[in-house]
């Protein structure tokens, strides 16, 4: 008995020893929750609309935490602040000067001490590759901790005058403990500090580089000793909201994210409307109208959405099967009075169905046949009820007969396509037999 208890205790201890380390998660388990570069343009922090996006957890529309780089909410599938992958660099609108980090007066050129390795200035000059540079709080303090690259035993004296090129640019480890630049330093984009007194090669901190479009290493133009700057850094106030609303609409790509969230200001909507009225090119009208449609959809304003889509389809362009399909679906939720519209716009969508492919094609074509059939069935049912119970006239009988024929034809089309594409035929067959009054017509 004592041996059995001992065995049981031993098994428990072994099982615990095996399972506990497996269950415990490390910090790497949360990498997905705290992305290093959550912004659509590859930055660590940015402003998306009215929100500031950082690697910390963001909130969805209901206030639930989601990773900052999630483009749509996990729970509600609604677009988040970083939804659009096309957003450009936002402009810094905070005060310039005064609150910004100020570099201390540059020290006189002295022989560098080997202890802290000085790095190239992360922000020498604005580059031409970034047309809209963001002026951000200088994140240099991240790099203030001395990197133990150069051993203190063999200090190398730097020349007092700035050389035209960095001292060492080779990505391979140098033989001598000379400070070197990293293999791919990208062009920094923030403000330029005063010219340095003792330029030496330094390695930039990775956080502030515009990494996505600057592959070749840019030579450090105006390096600054980092250590003294870091010691005199002041915290920079976060960018404040713009004091005056920008209601221009020249750059549609810039306002598209706001439109998707239904957050276009009234002035912006009026600006876009004005451009639609005065624009001559249909393609430009098409783009402008789509921005307004997206804005109405983002706001959840179905009435306005319907008005805008109807105007788009009637006056601007009806060759987009997606829009025709969506409009027909919206009309199908209404009563019999909108059923003829469902048939009309379903037909237009079917005219351009070749723009779809694969499963999208089969599902949408099936849905369009279904919409047409159900709309015709709705009209036929109402016509039969009017004829049978209200006005027993020849005209109403003819109308009922006409829509019965339409329903029969549409249902037969739907049924044939459903059979051909291997989709559900139950509803199509039921309506077909109901309209034909003859099962043989539909099953033949």
């Amino acid at each position: 008995m004592r041996m059995r208890n001992g065995m049981v205790a031993g098994i428990v201890v072994v099982a615990a020893a095996v399972s506990l380390p497996a269950l415990a998660g490390g910090w790497s388990s949360y990498n997905a929750a705290f992305p290093g570069f959550p912004c659509g343009d590859g930055w660590t922090a940015c402003r998306a609309g009215e929100q500031v996006v950082t690697p910390g957890m963001s909130r969805d529309s209901a206030g639930r935490p989601v990773p900052a780089d999630a483009r749509i909410g996990w729970f509600d599938l609604k677009p988040t602040a970083v939804f659009s992958p096309f957003s450009g660099l936002s402009s810094y609108v905070g005060p310039v000067g005064g609150e910004l980090a100020v570099a201390a007066p540059a020290p006189a050129p002295v022989a560098p001490t080997p202890d802290p390795i000085e790095r190239p200035d992360p922000s020498p000059t604005p580059t031409a590759e970034t047309p809209d540079p963001i002026e951000r709080p200088d994140p240099v303090p991240v790099a203030t901790s001395p990197a133990p690259v150069a051993p203190p035993a063999a200090p190398v004296a730097k020349p007092p005058t700035p050389p035209p090129a960095p001292v060492a640019t080779s990505p391979t480890p140098p033989a001598a403990p000379v400070a070197k630049a990293p293999p791919t330093p990208a062009a920094p984009v923030t403000k330029s500090p005063p010219p340095p007194a003792a330029p030496v090669a330094k390695s930039p901190p990775p956080v502030v580089t515009a990494s996505k479009s600057t592959p070749p290493p840019a030579p450090p133009v105006a390096p600054v000793p980092t250590a003294p700057v870091a010691s005199s850094m002041k915290p920079v106030a976060p960018p404040s909201a713009p004091t005056t609303a920008d209601d221009t609409c020249d750059d549609l790509v810039r306002i598209e994210p706001l439109a998707m969230l239904g957050q276009l200001r009234t002035g912006q909507v009026k600006c876009v409307e004005g451009r639609i009225g005065g624009e001559g090119a249909q393609t430009t009208k098409d783009k402008l109208s789509r921005v307004l449609i997206a804005n109405a959809e983002g706001k959840g304003d179905k009435v306005e959405w319907e008005r805008l889509v109807k105007r788009h389809l009637e006056d601007i362009d009806r060759s987009d099967p997606d829009m025709c399909f969506k409009y027909a679906t919206q009309l199908s939720r209404g009563g019999t009075g909108r059923a003829s519209g469902v048939i009309r716009w379903s037909d237009y969508a079917l005219d351009n169905k070749q723009r779809w492919s694969g499963t999208t094609y089969t599902k949408r074509v099936y849905s369009l046949y279904r919409l047409k059939t159900e709309a015709a069935n709705k009209i036929w049912t109402e016509a039969e009820e009017v004829f049978a119970t209200k006005e027993h006239t020849d005209e109403n009988e003819a109308k009922a007969a006409k829509w019965r024929g339409q329903t029969k034809d549409f249902a037969r089309e739907w049924l044939d396509y459903a059979k051909a594409s291997g989709q559900d035929t139950k509803s199509a067959l039921a309506i077909c037999v109901s309209a034909a009054g003859n099962r043989a017509f539909c099953e033949g």
Binding site: L252, E256, T283, D286, K287, R290, V291, I293, A294, E297, D320, D322, M323, F325, K326, T329, K363, R364, S367, R370, L371, E374, N377, W380, T381, E384, E385, A388, T389, R404, T407, D424, S427, A430, I431, V433, S434, A435, G437, N438, R439, A440
Partner: protein, 138 residues
């Protein structure tokens, strides 16, 4: 005198129907809530016409059907007939019925056509984008 009159009446009542007339069959069409379906129609599979039911009580009654080839189908006891009942918005029903000598009343219930539970997946309307022209090969 009275006896003669009563005898005459009783003889008239006892007179059997002619077998050529056919036995009347009545079909009453109702929905799931037992309300008459005013838009229902009844049809024999070999017939071309559709017979509307009475819009008030949903009934239809006849003792003979006229086929497309000119023949008449008179209902006789023991005969089995097949009829299709349909109405817009309802699932069509086909039923067979063996005719009795009398009281041939058939009540049928039509079920509504159920829409698919699956909702239509709507596409997303995209923004307008200019596409670069394809290079022309010389």
């Amino acid at each position: 005198m009275m006896l003669v009159m009563f005898a005459g009446v009783s003889v008239a009542q006892a007179k059997p129907k002619s077998p050529d007339e056919g036995v009347p069959v009545k079909v009453i069409v109702k929905d799931a809530a037992s309300a008459p379906v005013p838009t229902a129609v009844v049809r024999h599979p070999l017939e071309q016409d559709r017979h509307r039911v009475n819009s008030v009580d949903g009934s239809w009654e006849t003792n003979v059907l006229y086929m497309p080839d000119g023949t008449e189908l008179r209902f006789t006891p023991g005969q089995t007939i097949e009829l299709e009942i349909s109405a817009p918005g309802y699932v069509t029903q086909v039923f067979q019925y063996q005719i009795k000598k009398r009281r041939n009343v058939v009540e049928l219930k039509l079920l509504k056509i159920e829409n698919d539970v699956e909702q239509i997946e709507e596409p997303m309307i995209t923004f307008g984008r200019d596409l670069p022209r394809e290079p022309v090969e010389e």
